[in-house]
Structure formats: structure tokens, C-alpha cells
Subunit: 247 residues, 6 copies
Amino acid sequence: MSRIDGRKNNELRPVKFTRNFTRYAQGSVLVEMGETKVICTATIEDKVPPFLKNTGKGWITAEYSMLPSSTQSRKVRESSRGKVEGRTQEIQRLIGRALRSVVDLDALGERTLWIDCDVIQADGGTRTASITGSFVALVDALNKLKEEGAIESIPVRSFVSAISVGIINGEAMLDLCYEEDSTAKVDMNIVMTDRGEFVEVQGTGEESPFAKADLMNLLELGEKGNLELIQLQKEALGAIADAIENK
Amino acid sequence: MSRIDGRKNNELRPVKFTRNFTRYAQGSVLVEMGETKVICTATIEDKVPPFLKNTGKGWITAEYSMLPSSTQSRKVRESSRGKVEGRTQEIQRLIGRALRSVVDLDALGERTLWIDCDVIQADGGTRTASITGSFVALVDALNKLKEEGAIESIPVRSFVSAISVGIINGEAMLDLCYEEDSTAKVDMNIVMTDRGEFVEVQGTGEESPFAKADLMNLLELGEKGNLELIQLQKEALGAIADAIENK
Amino acid sequence: MSRIDGRKNNELRPVKFTRNFTRYAQGSVLVEMGETKVICTATIEDKVPPFLKNTGKGWITAEYSMLPSSTQSRKVRESSRGKVEGRTQEIQRLIGRALRSVVDLDALGERTLWIDCDVIQADGGTRTASITGSFVALVDALNKLKEEGAIESIPVRSFVSAISVGIINGEAMLDLCYEEDSTAKVDMNIVMTDRGEFVEVQGTGEESPFAKADLMNLLELGEKGNLELIQLQKEALGAIADAIENK
Amino acid sequence: MSRIDGRKNNELRPVKFTRNFTRYAQGSVLVEMGETKVICTATIEDKVPPFLKNTGKGWITAEYSMLPSSTQSRKVRESSRGKVEGRTQEIQRLIGRALRSVVDLDALGERTLWIDCDVIQADGGTRTASITGSFVALVDALNKLKEEGAIESIPVRSFVSAISVGIINGEAMLDLCYEEDSTAKVDMNIVMTDRGEFVEVQGTGEESPFAKADLMNLLELGEKGNLELIQLQKEALGAIADAIENK
Amino acid sequence: MSRIDGRKNNELRPVKFTRNFTRYAQGSVLVEMGETKVICTATIEDKVPPFLKNTGKGWITAEYSMLPSSTQSRKVRESSRGKVEGRTQEIQRLIGRALRSVVDLDALGERTLWIDCDVIQADGGTRTASITGSFVALVDALNKLKEEGAIESIPVRSFVSAISVGIINGEAMLDLCYEEDSTAKVDMNIVMTDRGEFVEVQGTGEESPFAKADLMNLLELGEKGNLELIQLQKEALGAIADAIENK
Amino acid sequence: MSRIDGRKNNELRPVKFTRNFTRYAQGSVLVEMGETKVICTATIEDKVPPFLKNTGKGWITAEYSMLPSSTQSRKVRESSRGKVEGRTQEIQRLIGRALRSVVDLDALGERTLWIDCDVIQADGGTRTASITGSFVALVDALNKLKEEGAIESIPVRSFVSAISVGIINGEAMLDLCYEEDSTAKVDMNIVMTDRGEFVEVQGTGEESPFAKADLMNLLELGEKGNLELIQLQKEALGAIADAIENK
């Protein structure tokens, strides 16, 4: 029994990274996972939040937003409401943690990397696509810093990517699209490094609690998906990826 | 003496409309004017603001936002600040007025057209590009409504576009890029219809007041620019444009 | 065919400036244009916004507000809503630009002039009356600074005033009252100096686009109105006006 | 030993009520107590807050604000801050309670009286002047309602006024101006009716607690001041005052 | 005729102070007055608000909040609304003034005492219980400062407590519970020191103005209640209370 | 090698549930896990959010807050800041999901259960303690509803509890206190039912990614802890727990 869009249960949607998508941020990537499209940018600022002043350490902070027209029914703009939703804040914090986990903040020096993830079309998995795409933008930005001679090498310890998995009609599936996501009984986001380690595991069975066996299946699917994504990140980054790996 | 980018004083930057840029809004256009790029979408909602209830009339409301990474130095996200800037509100109001001026709101019926202009790259003239691009998105959305049989014809009375003009080093120039805009002594935005009428004229000489003769030159340049833009809108819309003109 | 209040099309309403209307601000003027009444004050603060620190330059910033009881049906207080409306912000920005255009900010030194325009009765034209009245308050405040020996002369390059014009029932009219304003097809605010130059031209034909000939008529009317207003400002300021002109 | 402005300890400042100060609110009074000047208006709205719907009862709600230029050093506008200060809310609640205490809300019917107190010049005692002036505006508004035939008589049970008293240099004084107020060790606001009853008594000895004997002296002074103020309200209202008293 | 809960008109509800109720604040007291329960804490911070910098003086600031579940019908959380109610601000200001009136802020040095009053169960008199309980927490916090050698003695000039009184069915009653409070025609909060002086007197007769004789009765009742409360504070504080009195 | 407080790695801190802690909410529980103390209440409201109107289904919504004095250094009150932090929103959403996962919302009928978790003392694990304690409060509230005859049985499908686990100095530990939590390299919150199923699994390795083997150890520890907690919930609820299990 195949999926809505004909994929196999353990198959990713087509993935595409367009680097240098816009021109002002040091890193700018349009990431597409099927119909989900997110502009991920990385901007370097030469100062850090107050709690890091004079520590020599850098910081990474992420913001996430959906264009009102990105969803099937128009979404109210958060700036019009005057406040940022809980869901948005949760996602922003997740992206920030994921990227900080693989960057050597000491080697970054007293700089802030601003990561902006702006969803222009949402078909499920926007938070995981944001992490996967932002990592590429972040590497591009750090590479520019290196080329300018501000740092000696790109201070990245591992590659990082993220993917969603879930259980739909009793079957574990990889990389859920919106329609699948809204019928999933269990929904999990898995963030991993290229060394096969976990950075973040978030699974929710609001509709129905899940057994340990389900959890094991989902972890395995997530591992497969992330390894494929990281391979694609490496291809997109080409020689820069090699420089990181051979460090 | 030619301009920064080699254009003549009365020359537009390259203009490009990409229709159906995203998939959920009824109208979705990426408009590019040189390096300025704005996603303009039009979404139809089957209700109107309270002041129009039971009047049979429709409404058009516009929102405008710049992605943080769209500008040369990263712009703070308005949702993070918790409030919409004065400049943004001014632009939103301008776009809304411009589009309402050419739509027959009675024929639209009790519907709201939500126009969203999200700037992904800003090199001057984002507000005028937003008007020019939104008009195309709006026609696409209205055309869908017509195809669904909800309205008999596209309730648009005229085409509308907008362009900036200004005086730099004593010379009147058309379609200012960011660098020109920031050195202009006089800066004017002109919104016009395909009948050569004015919808909005906003000229500011904050740095130095300007003479009537300057105003006349600027109006003429603006007229030239708008007529060219409207011609490009018509080409982009093809047969749908014809349907409007022959009404 | 005469107007609602019997005026001729090119006639201003009765104008009155009451200087020293309140006692704490350095400049305080009640300006009346017919039934429109605005308290305009200018307060000098010995510091500038961050972007001007250590530049030796001064700044002028304006705030505008309507008392809840100033309008025909009570207006909700913006402080109660917790946010400033788009219209208010637009007007504040306009007043600030108009005044800055005629003041030598270098000669002002590192000081901020706070302009407050509080409408106590609104019968159309409150933004233009605010500009016209604020200019008088600003001159009074600068004159005090001069009398205290803080500056050598009043750093004002030109007089500035503003007036509304519009097209009602096909006729161009000067200085619209509220009832006229709400039926006008075209509405324009014109800010000018005593040298006959334009500082700001804002014309809107939301209800119906307008021809170039209309625009020409409106500009001419506006010119006439502003020259009369500036004459009245000079009379109100007496010897201080002379000091500015003979500079 | 006389006071800063030469008054006796038990003497009010000159009091002046200007009725019909502005034209749109049903009641509009400029109240002056020495250099303290407040525009008090009363606007009638034909609906009540949710908790009174279908009870047949009316409501009175008050808002208070100081113009930025009303104080010796410019006060930041509450709408710019985005929130109403604690002091403002305290005063608004006080004015509302004072007026509700003397109005028959059942006889008012399902209407809201909006009281707006906008201070245009502040020299101490703005909250008490607001109560005293608002009462006159409220009576004017209710009288209009009566003249329109909407109510049979003015539903006011008593006159109400308010005055400040305090202890300065060990002496009890009536109607403190700003300079006195800022050096007072004890500061009290007393709201009373024409029947000599208390509506509100608020005394604070933040700087130094006070003895019962002091309290007694202050109450007596406050009583004297309020009786004089109510006499002045009656004179200002003329025949309308008689109509209330003879009810 | 006895009261709802069988008390005499001049009788307090059972009072209980639990010191060291929580462990992190320097002073932490659960105060219970009948069914009213408030956690009062005092936290010392080694800095002062801007207006006191380099004056050598300290400050006391109070915050008050009710848990949503503290009231008979659940109260909306102020953080969810995004703003603090007028009533809350009024109470916070009252608590702050009351405590500051008895503390020698010069002797405190450049420190801020943060007082937090969090109502966990509300049965009337929460603001007065907050003052009475906070005083005990404040003394505990100051005592710790003394024990650490930061100050030589506890800089408290007097004890301070507060109680509500009111007129119900024509009778003056002490320490109103919620049910009494909601039927009271006159409601008064009285803050006093152990020397029998008044710090704050706030009486309101919104429902019906009150005579001077009523006021006298209420003041007397309040005096009785406060003296009893202060006795209980002294018992709760034991030897620390002695140290303050013998200073 | 034992832990800071002498516990074994797989040992919970002492747990205590005080039911009926306050009197107005239908369910009110003080939960203590070592020095972490949270007041959890459940209030029933007879209406549902708009998206559930006329569906016959109920809803559960949770709010979480920390008293300013609950933490080692005083925490700024969210109501004073005017906004709810991202961390708070994340926790509120988590508590809500956890409780909804075990309640039959159809059987609840069109009612909302408001869960309030107010932390009065925080020593790590406040979000998990909130879930564990809230479940007991929720059962108490539903039991009252049953006793009133509004529902036939308590619509709870499973017991639910939550616990934190983490890796400190390379060792997996159960129920982290604050000091342990702040040095943990991996931190995980696990929400489970009495059937040994997972409701939510949230693991974060911000400081250092973790291997699958670590994840397995943590899941096992979490399972042990949750089964013990659920046993304690059952003991606290006594006969009511039996009624749920025998359903």
C-alpha cells in the first residue's frame, strides 16, 4: 500500500538546495522538500548577547516565520497580532539548539549568527526542512568569514539535519507531507549528525500513546532519512563540505 | 552622465513577473525590478470587515513585510518587536488604496481580497513594486473566482501600477535603486492607471524643498514609467488582460 | 455655487494663532482653522537619538494625537488600545519631515525638538493645521534658545505651512472642512515654504483617479493657500519673523 | 506665614469653569484651578459593558490623560509606550467611582457615559480638578439627554467635587499646587457630596506617618474646600443646578 | 447579630504567619487571615532604579498577583492578557508605599528590596494581608543582611500592618471576608504603624456616600485591628522583633 | 559514586501529593518532588474554544507559571514584561498534550478543563512535576463532575505521569535536580501512561549529541520512574483510582 504521493514508506520527498538564493545575507539557501519551501539565511553580526560579552564565545540564534500565503488557508501575520505564537517560539528554539550543537562557539569568536527561516510554502516538515537548509546557509556564511581571514577554518564539528517521521494507519513513514502529518497518530522529529548521533528527539502521541516498538521503528527510519539528507547537504556544498570533513 | 548601473535617466530596471509562484493563494506573483524582489499574493476570503457587513460590497486589504535578510544589514523582525513600524503601516495603506481605486467593490460582492507583499530582496522601490506585482496577483485571483462561476466578469476598471522617481545630483531619474534613493534630494512615488490618470502622488523633499518645474519633470517621468509597466503587466497576463480591456 | 459654510472655493477658513497657550513647553501655540483646533507645542531636550550622537547635529521629532472627544463620535484612546494607529504614525512622520526640511539641524546643535500636536477639536485638515501651527511653536522655542544665548540666531531657513485641497462635485476647493473632506473624490495635502517651493505633495484619488489637469488646479490652489498661511504666521510672530527673514 | 502664591492655608486657588469648551461631546468643560487646566468631556453612548446588558442599568467610565506638554518636563506619551501607567489607571478608577456614587444608574438606562479628562496644564491637583470639572460636564450631557426627551429628569442624586489637602512644614493646607505637593509629608484627596458626605478619602503619609489629629484637621479643611467648590459648580450650572436640587 | 462566620464585629479572623515558607528568597512568609492566603517574599538585589543611582539610598518595590485558581471563578492570568490590570497596579503601589514609609532607605544603602505577594487563595482582604505579611518577610530579609554583616542594624523605624474595615447593613465591621466585602456600602483599608500613626487611609463609598461619624467608627476599628496584627507580627518574629524595638 | 543529594542514579526524589490544597478549584494538588513544589489546579468551565463549538467534545488547556521568588535568583514576572516567554509556552503546550492524550474528550462533553501549574519553588523538573501533579488534580475535578451527576464515569483512559532523565558525567540519572540539570550533557523528559506507553519523548543533546545506546538507557530509566510515579498517584487517589482502573 503506497502513500498519497506514491512514495515508499521509507522514502524522502525530492530535496533541493539553491545556494545564494538572495544576495545580502552571508548565507542564503532555498531548501525544498517536495512542496515545502523555506528560505534559510545566515547573517553574521559582530557582537553577542549580553550574557556572552567578554567570554570570547559566539552565539547562534534562529527566527522562524511563515508567510501568510504559505499555508492552505491564509495565516494571520504574527506582526499584526503583536505577538509570536507558542508554536513559532518552540520551533525557533529547536533550530537554534540544533545548530549550536554542531558549531564550536569558542572558535566562532564573539559573533552572532542570525538564522532566519522564512517559509514561503508549507506542505509539512517545515521545522525539519528549516534545520536542514539552515545548516547549509550557516556553512556558507562561515566559509565567507574564513575567506575574509576572520577565522582560520570553518568551526563546524559535524553536519546536522532533521527529518520528521510518524505512524499513519499503523505504518511508520518517513518525511510526512501535510496531509499525512494531520492524520498521524504519532509524530516525531529527529535531529542527527553525520556521525549517527542524536541531537534532538521529539515524539508526540497526543492522539494515541505509542509502544516502545513503535519508537524503535521511528528512530530507525529517522536515522535513514537523516543520513540521506546529510549526503545531499554534502553534495550541495561540494568542496566546502570536504574542507569540513577533512579538518 | 549615466547612472550607477548604466541605465539612462528615464529607463526602468529589468522587470519580471513570475505568476503562480506559490501554490495556495489564489493569486501568487514574484515581481522583480532589478534586484528588488517581492512575493505578492492575493487570497480571497468569503467575509468582509464589520463596517461592510450586509452592504453587498467587498474589500481589499494589504499587508507588507520585509524578510529580515532582505536588506543590506539584517532588519529586526516586526513580530519580534511586537509592533508594526510606521513605515510599514504607511506602505500597507498605500497598497490597499491603490488597488481599491481600480476594483469595483460592489461587483466583488461580500468578499475580502487579502494582499500580502513579502519582500525577499530589497534594492529600492519595494512599495511601488508591491503595487505593480499585487495587481497581477489580484487579477489572477479574481480570474479564478470568475472561472469558478462566483462572479461574471473580472471586476477591474483599470490597470494600476506604481513607480518611484527622484532627483539625484540635480537630475530627474526613473525607478531609483537603493543607492540612488538614499542620495536623492527629492523622492516621489507615483501610482497611475492605464488611462493615464493619477491614483496617488507622494513627493517628499525632506532634504531640500523642490520647485514646481522639478515636480513637472518628475510627473512626466513617472507617467512614462507607469505606462511601460502596465504594458508589461498586460503581457504577463496575456488573454486575461484582454478580457479586462474588452469589458 | 458656494460651499457648505459659504466660503469661496479658493478661500481659507478663519485662521488664528494663540501663542504661549500653555506655560511649560518652550513654544506653545493653539492653532485654529475654522472649527479645527490643535495645541502645538515645541519642547527642547538637550540630547539626540542614538544615530546622531557625537555628530553635532540636532533632530526634530513629532507626535500627533486626537483627544477622544475631539471627533463627532468619540474616538478610542490610543493608549487604551495599546497601539498607535497607522494613520497617526503617517501624520507624525509627515509633520516631522516638514519641519526638518526648513531647519538647519547642524546649527541647532545636539538637541531634540519634540513637537506635540494634540487635536482638541477636529473639523478636517488636522494634519495640515498641525504643521502650520507647529512651525510657529518651533520658532518660539528656538527664539527662547537664542535669548538664553545657547544659539546665535534662529536656525530656520524658510517658513513652512501646509494646507489641504480637494475635488468635490468636480470643483477644486481649498482647505476642506470635515464634511467636504468626506465627500471629496480627490484629496491632497500640500506643504510649502515661503519661497514657493514644495516640501511635500500627497494626493490620493482612492474614490476615483484624477487627471493631470486636476492635479495642476490643486497645486495652484495649494500654493495660494500656503502663501496666505505663511503671511499669517509672520504676522503672528511679529518681530521674530523679521529676524528670521533678515538673516 | 503665607504660602508660595500668597494664599491662606485654607484658601482655594481661583476656580473657573468654561462650559461648552469644545463642540462634539454632549458635555465639555474646561476647568481651571489656578494654573491646573483640564478639559473634561462627557459623551453618551447608547450601549453598556457586557456585564450590564439587559439589566436596564447604565454605566459611567472615565479616562484620564496628561498631554506630554502639560508638565514641567515633557512627559512620554502613554500611547507611544504602549501601556497605561499605574498612576493613570488609579486616577481613572477614582474618577469613575466618584461620579457613579452620585448618579442613579437605573434611571440613566442602558447607556454609558464616557468621561474624558485631558490635562493640558498640570500644577498639582489634576485628579481632583478632573472630578470637579467632570461633574459639570456630566450634568450638561445628562441635561441634553433630558432635553431630547430620552430621560425625564437629570438622574443625579447629589453634587460631587474633590480637593487635595496636605501637611507642609507642619501646617495643614488646602488645594496644593505642584510645588507644595512635592514637599508635602502627608497628602490627601477628599471627594464629597453637597450633603457633606464622603465619597472617597485617600490619605498617604509615605514620607512620614501621621497622627489622628492631623487626619482630623485635613478632613475639616477638605470639607471646607469641597463645599466651596460645589457652590461654584452650582453657579456655573445656573438653572440646571436648581433643577437638580429641587428634584 | 453576629457575622457570616460567627465573628464579632470588631474581631479579626484567625491570623497565621509561616516564616521560611519557601527557600530561595531572603524572606518568605505565608500569611493566612482566615481563608485568605498570600505568599509574601522579600528578595534583596544589589542595585537600585536609575533615579537613585549614586545617592546611597535604597528602594522597595512590590508586585502583587493572584493565581488564576485563587478566586471563586477562575481569574484570567495577567501574563496571558499581556497587561497588568489597574486594580493590580493600585495594590502594588499601595504595598510599596506602606513598606517604604517605615524603612530607613538611607540606612538600607543602594539595594532594592523586591516584595512579591502571590495570592494563592482569596477570601477578601488580600491587599491588607499582603502588607501585613510582607512586613514580616521584609524584616527576615533585612535580618539576613545584618547577619551577613552588610548592615549594622535592621533599618526599620516602625512595624506596619494593614486591615480592612467596612459598613455592612449599617454596622461597622473589622476584617471583611469576601462575602462581606461584596455587600459593604463603605469599604476602607487602613495602614498603621505600631506607634498608632496612619500610613494610608483609603475609604470608598461608591455605593453610598458616608457620614463623618461612620468614618470615625471605621478609623477606630481599624486602629484596634492593626494593633492586634502588629502584636502578632512581633510574636512571629520573636527575638528579631525585640532587636527592632530596642534600637 | 553517588549523587549530590545521596540518591542512587535510578532513584526518584521523595514525592508528595497534597490534595485539596486550595479550596476554589474543583481539583487542587500541591505536588512536591524533593524541593520542587508546584500548585496544580483543575477548574471546569462549561464552554469550549470556538473550534469545538457544537461538536459535543471537550478540551483541556494548561497554563504554567513560576512565582518570581521560586528560583534561586528572582525571576522577572511575565505579566510585568507583557509577554509570555517561549519556554513557558513550550511547557504549557506539553502539559496540555499530555493530559489530553489520556482523557476521552467526547465523554467529557462541551467543557474546558483549565489546568494551572504555578511553581512556588523550583529545583529542577518543574514541567514533569506539573504533568504528574496536574493529572491528580484533573481526576479530582472530574470526580466532582461525576458526583454531581454531570457525567457517568470519570472519562480517563489511562494514568499519565512524567519524569526527567539525563546524562551527567557520563552516567544516566533519574529525576534531575536543578544542579544536576544544569550540568547534564543530555536532558530528556519522558511522559508515559500506566500501560507503559509513551505519550511524549523529548531529548536534547545541545551540549553534545548522544548515541543510540544512551537513548536506550534513558528510556529505560524514564520507564522505571514513571511506573513508580503512577503507583504514587494511585495511592494518593485511593478509591477514585480504583474506579478508573476498573472501568
